[in-house]
């Protein structure tokens, strides 16, 4: 359990203790408090593992670090993804415990076949690690995307696919919920760590003259033609 989760609890206790009407009227202030709490928690020490042994955690950390590697920007390691997965396997991901318990030794066994004399994934070179993971990743390239946001695909049961999904979740989840430490993942994708925004939002709406003016300009343009 890390700092951000307990902050979340603190915040929700603060809100439920008072009326919802008060909370919504004062929401901006509450949000500011939450943002402040995030900043304050940055220096927290890393939590202990609840599901993984230290050795297992090192292996999982190494796998997540190939899924979202560290280059000139932070990767899964810096975002503390292994801690997110560890916590997840005792909470939302209890059903996936078996996949990890059985999958990791299987991966290590295949690895030992591929690279004689090696017993730990974390001791391989990054190139060797990728080679091992590719041998597990039979689904290859991302397929055609489908519309619809709420379905979870039943097929993704194998170990690598599970770790891949958990790594993405742990890297990109709102940092309030136990992953994405210091919003490292959001920094990488360019998402600001705020709970409220104001226009202009991006490059293309910066110069927007407003609806009425845009309509007038369009009408003039059409008349010219």
């Amino acid at each position: 359990m890390n700092e951000s989760v307990s902050r979340r609890r603190f915040l929700s206790r603060g809100v439920t203790g008072i009326s919802a009407v008060w909370a919504s009227a004062h929401w901006p202030a509450l949000l500011a408090a939450a943002t402040h709490a995030h900043q304050a928690a940055k220096s927290a020490p890393p939590p202990k593992f609840e599901f993984f042994t230290a050795d297992e955690a090192k292996e999982i950390d190494a796998i997540t670090s190939r899924i979202i590697p560290t280059d000139d920007t932070p990767g899964a390691h810096e975002a503390g993804v292994v801690y997110f997965i560890d916590r997840g396997l005792t909470t939302f991901g209890v059903d996936d415990q078996k996949t990890y318990r059985e999958g990791l030794p299987e991966l290590q066994a295949r690895m030992a076949e591929m690279f004689q004399g090696k017993s730990k994934f974390s001791e391989l070179s990054p190139e060797q690690q990728d080679e091992v993971l590719h041998s597990f990743d039979d689904s290859g390239q991302q397929g055609q995307r489908q519309r619809g946001g709420l379905r979870s695909r039943p097929g993704a049961k194998n170990f690598f696919e599970t770790v891949r999904q958990h790594t993405i979740a742990g890297f990109l989840i709102d940092p309030d919920y136990g992953g994405n430490r210091d919003a490292a993942g959001w920094k990488v994708i360019g998402r600001e760590r705020e709970h409220m925004f104001q226009p202009p939002f991006g490059y293309y709406d910066k110069g927007y003259p407003g609806w009425e003016v845009a309509v007038k300009e369009a009408t003039k343009e059409a008349e010219k033609k």
Partner: protein, 556 residues
């Protein structure tokens, strides 16, 4: 303010309303305001703003706010000849407020054509297109009532295709986003008519509710500031304030009981501990959505009603319509940051009403500029809605680079169109699979009408035409394919004057059972062009007026 009341199950209330979503919430408020004693039985929990989060794992992966496949499994097949396979087939909001809590809040009125399309275009082979027993003019006052009572942002008169309205919107549109500006400019170049999206989200605060803070977590999530105009944030609170309406959460209604006279006497439900109770009521209004309403009627079969309650027509569960429409993604040179703000800020209705003789199919649709991909969704196909171009590696350095580049620079254009009513498209009881309470699971049968697929191809071409008129660096469209998953659950207990060809009449009363009413997506006769929620709520306001009049005249 009066304290919310509680009733005993043995208290014969005036109305038991089953479901508290876009229709049930409205009926609860209207009927209790009109002096009736009302119990609302809702299968999901009673959550409030403080319970809502941006937790993608809990909300999207663990279905915190939606129907739960692990206890409510479903099956799917394309045609009645196939054996249905277990798969997740639909999603709906499962909480007080129903799907109005987690929906994207696109709030289009239906147009005049949607009520009279059969008369206008004639019969369509393979479909059973029918006129509604009511017209747009009948529903207009109720559209206005919804917009003003719950709070809808929009700009009246901005679209030349809008149907007539008696009043403007109660508040201005929400801020335009970069994607909206790109969409607006490109559409104008093509001579089309973009306009600010009408959204059931507050642009100005209302008492007890904040204005939108542009956090960007609308679709699939509950609004933490009460800006989304769900029935939870609006009419349900008004209903409770009457002192005559009890909202009873965690009650899964599994049967409607009738007496020897063929009248409904109450609704049987399981509580949280799976103990069954019978809530007595003088009349029952089922607002459980287009999937669960027909399922409940079928589950309520007895000696007197062997094919299910109110099913003398055999049409309960049939004519399921989902709405359809492909989409495309585009990537631009500079950051749009469309993750900020509500999902949609600009739409267009130039293709709402098409001439079947010219285009070769019946139907129409609208387009919108949107970004509704929360961060994990954007990156992942495991959550089934990735935002990255096809062919992008699923992990590693290139995957990360694509994420880093595209997330702020992406825009999606989505089309929303007609589904034609086909009799074999349906919800029914699965003969084999049971849910966690031991009752038959929902089975969905669905195969898009050929015209729906032609419309899909047409709308996809318009999307690509629009994107060609932008400076997009890269673009790709989703394939036009048959659907096997439902968000919009429409048409399954259709309204009509003839008891042989419909399930309810224009008062929402079932043709077969005098004190049983149905109102939700199942009542729709046609699918509209993709955004049904406003119409469902407007029907509920109208149904409440009709039911009140019947009750006062002693005709229930």
């Amino acid at each position: 303010m009066l304290e919310p009341i509680t009733y005993k199950t043995t208290d014969e209330v005036d109305f038991a309303i089953i479901g508290s979503g876009a229709a049930g919430g409205v009926l609860a408020k209207e009927l209790s305001t009109n002096g009736f004693r009302v119990v609302v039985l809702e299968q999901g929990p009673y959550l409030t703003e403080a319970d809502f989060t941006h937790n993608e794992v809990e909300v999207l992966k663990r279905n915190q706010l939606t129907n739960r496949p692990e206890i409510q499994p479903t099956t799917f097949r394309k045609t009645p000849q196939d054996k249905a396979k277990r798969q997740r087939a639909l999603v709906y909001g499962r909480m007080v407020g129903g799907s109005s809590v987690h929906f994207t809040a696109n709030y289009w009125r239906f147009h005049e054509i949607d009520f009279i399309e059969r008369s206008k275009v004639g019969p369509v082979p393979g479909a059973n297109l029918a006129d509604w027993p009511i017209t747009y003019a009948d529903l207009e006052p109720y559209y206005t009532k919804v917009e003003w009572e719950i709070g809808v942002s929009g700009l009246a008169g901005a679209s030349p295709f809008d149907p007539p309205r008696s009043k403007p919107y109660p508040m201005p549109p929400l801020p335009v986003k970069s994607g909206g500006v790109i969409f607006e400019r490109a559409a104008r170049k093509l001579g089309w008519h973009p306009f600010p999206a009408p959204m059931a989200i507050l642009s100005h605060p209302r008492p007890g509710r904040g204005a939108c803070v542009q956090c960007g977590f609308c679709e699939s999530f509950g609004c933490e500031v009460g800006a989304k105009s769900s029935t939870l944030a609006t009419v349900i609170r008004m209903a409770e304030k009457t002192g005559r309406c009890e909202i009873r959460p965690n009650c899964y209604v599994h049967r409607i009981e009738t007496n020897a006279n063929g009248r409904v006497i109450g609704a049987a439900y399981f509580d949280k501990k799976r103990i069954s109770h019978l809530q007595m009521a003088k009349a029952v209004v089922v607002c459980a959505n287009g999937a669960e309403t027909p399922r409940l009627l079928l589950l309520s079969a007895n000696k007197q009603f062997p094919d299910g309650l109110a099913n003398s027509s055999g049409l309960v569960g049939k004519y399921l319509m989902l709405n359809s429409g492909p989409s495309a993604m585009a990537v631009f040179e500079h950051p749009l940051n469309d993750y900020k703000g509500v999902a949609v800020s600009r739409i267009l209705h130039d293709f709402y009403e098409l001439d079947p003789r010219k285009v070769g199919f019946c139907g129409g649709g609208g387009l919108d500029a949107r970004f509704d991909l929360t961060p994990i969704n954007f990156a992942s196909t495991g959550y089934d809605m990735g935002g990255l171009p096809p062919g992008t590696p699923r992990w590693g350095k290139e995957f990360k680079a694509a994420l880093a580049h595209n997330y702020t620079r992406s825009l999606e254009i989505v089309s929303h169109g007609t589904s034609l009513p086909v009799e074999s498209n349906s919800f029914s009881l699965d003969p084999d699979l049971k849910e966690a309470w031991g009752l038959p699971a929902l089975r969905m049968t669905y195969k898009d009408h050929p015209d729906d697929l032609k419309l899909g191809a047409f709308l996809r071409d318009r999307i690509l035409e629009l994107l060609d008129a932008t400076d997009a660096v890269q673009k790709w469209a989703s394939p036009v394919e048959e659907q096997d998953f439902a968000y919009h659950l429409l048409g399954t207990c259709r309204m009509g004057n003839d008891p042989k060809s419909s399930v309810i009449n224009a008062d929402h009363r079932t043709h077969d059972v005098k004190n049983l009413f149905l109102c939700d997506g199942s009542s729709l006769v046609t699918s509209g062009r993709g955004q049904p929620t406003l119409t469902i709520s407007a029907l509920a306001y109208r149904a409440a007026d009709r039911i009140t009049e019947l009750a006062r005249k002693g005709e229930i």
